[in-house]
């Protein structure tokens, strides 16, 4: 049987919903990974000793094990201890925390690299250490790693496909559902790939705008 793209139009709605879920998961998880990454970096560098070690262990867990396994653990595993999360929430938490750990590594390096004259100038004005970090050092650190964080966000978009495994009908699962009904695997996977590519382009455009703004404030 040859290729037949006429199987696709009846599933426009299914695919559109898939695209929307993929965008929703990606945006929410990206925000979680960004702000979570900042918080994790500040705790790792300046937090109390008591919380530093557990955090380091959790970071290691998120970086050293497969994301798919983490999603299973959060969605299927936590139920056993009474935490029953909707699949979307479990997916966002898994993806978000996973990438928060990666972002945190980037941000930590950047915080350490901010000229110490910046902290000194802020302290000289009377800011506390915490105020100086939040107002002066961290914004500059984050600004300096916007491009690699952007790369992480693109990777996050692609990894959002893994969330299909816990039943969120995002783009990949939507394509699979359509294939289950039509047996047109090539056509639907190709269309899904094209749609990922388009979302990717949109994301890159947004990231480029953010980078341009950040460059001005150097």
């Amino acid at each position: 049987m040859g290729l037949d793209f006429s199987a696709i139009p009846p599933f426009y709605g299914t695919l559109a919903i898939g695209v929307l879920w993929t965008i929703a998961i990606t945006v929410v998880a990206a925000l979680l990974s960004f702000f979570g990454g900042i918080l994790l970096a500040m705790i790792a560098l300046h937090g109390p000793q008591l919380v530093k070690q557990p955090f380091r262990f959790v970071s290691w867990l998120f970086m050293g094990t497969p994301l798919l396994l983490q999603l299973f653990l959060i969605y299927f595993g936590l139920v056993q201890i009474g935490i029953d999360l909707p699949a979307f929430v479990a997916g966002v938490i898994g993806l978000g925390l996973h990438y928060a750990v990666y972002n945190s590594e980037l941000i930590q390096t950047a915080i350490v690299a901010v000229d110490r004259g910046q902290m000194e100038a802020a302290r000289t004005l009377g800011l506390s250490r915490g105020q100086a970090l939040v107002r002066v050092v961290v914004p500059q650190a984050v600004r300096d790693v916007i491009p690699p964080i952007g790369n992480n966000m693109i990777a996050l978009l692609k990894d959002s496909a893994l969330v299909s495994a816990i039943g969120v009908t995002e783009l990949t699962l939507s394509a699979q559902l359509a294939i289950g009904r039509t047996y047109r695997a090539f056509e639907f996977y190709a269309v899904a790939a094209l749609l990922y590519y388009i979302i990717n382009l949109g994301m890159e455009a947004v990231l480029r705008r953010i980078e341009r703004r950040a460059r001005l404030s150097r």
């Binding site: 100038a121 009377g126 107002r135």
Partner: protein
């Protein structure tokens, strides 16, 4: 009892490991006085200046400002609050400006007053305009630091410090990093502050500027105050051999 000096440093001693950088320095500055600290590189000028707001804590000795001990031994939390209060009263200007590059000129000036004095946005804008006008930088109020020349950056840094309405201003080689043609605009601002009777302690390599602006000159070498007095005396008739050597070398270097 007589009134205590405005700024008093008592037996300041500071070591980095086995290197003794400040050796039992005592000095006072009266309100409204302008004091220059000169001396060869590595003699401890910055360390002394930075001890005044406890940016580089002393190993031993005391720093007093307006009747309050800056480096009072307090439990950590109390000390943090105390030192933040003290630092609000002391403006500091650095050789490399240390402007906040991610903030506009306006935000550089208003950040600390907004955060620490809880002034409104409107008051903050008025304050920024007033302080930037004072240093001739009002036109660049919405620029980023990266869009300014060195001299302009330093003038903004001075405005940022003045926006906290400090009692005392510290300058650590404020013009050393500037191209020669940009030095004068910063010196003009400092002269203006002198005319307004701001108390200032100025670490500088510019002997002409020190001579024309300062009430008193302190010559430091190897962690001690070798000589101090009015500029006329220290520059024209130094009593110490080390001062004479330094000034001679400096004059040769300037040629």
């Amino acid at each position: 009892m007589t009134k205590p000096p405005f700024v008093e440093i008592r037996h300041a001693q500071k070591s980095y490991g086995s290197l003794e950088v400040l050796k039992d320095i005592s000095l006072t500055v009266e309100r409204g006085q302008i004091v220059a600290i000169i001396g060869p590189s590595g003699s401890g000028k910055s360390t002394l200046l930075r001890a005044i707001n406890d940016l580089d804590p002393l190993s031993s000795g005391e720093v007093w400002l307006d009747g309050v001990q800056v480096n009072e031994a307090l439990p950590h939390r109390q000390y943090e609050k105390h030192i933040n209060d003290m630092r609000q009263q002391v403006g500091m200007v650095f050789q490399h400006f240390n402007l906040f590059p991610h903030l506009t000129v306006r935000q550089n000036v208003t950040m600390a007053p907004k955060l620490l004095k809880k002034i409104s946005d409107k008051e903050a804008d008025a304050l920024a305009e007033e302080q930037l006008d004072h240093v001739g930088m009002l036109e660049r109020i919405d620029y980023y630091p990266s869009q300014l020349s060195g001299g302009q950056k330093q003038r903004v840094a001075i405005a940022r410090a003045l926006a906290m309405k400090p009692k005392l201003m510290l300058f650590d080689e404020a013009t050393s990093a500037l191209d020669p043609e940009l030095v004068e605009e910063v010196n003009q601002v400092m002269k203006k502050l002198a005319e307004e009777h701001m108390t200032m302690i100025i670490v500088t390599h510019e002997m002409d500027f020190a001579a024309s602006v300062c009430d008193r000159v302190i010559f430091m070498d190897k962690g001690v105050v070798v000589e101090e007095g009015p500029p006329d005396l220290v520059f024209r008739n130094p009593t110490q051999e080390r001062t004479r050597n330094f000034l001679r070398k400096h004059l040769e270097g300037a040629k």
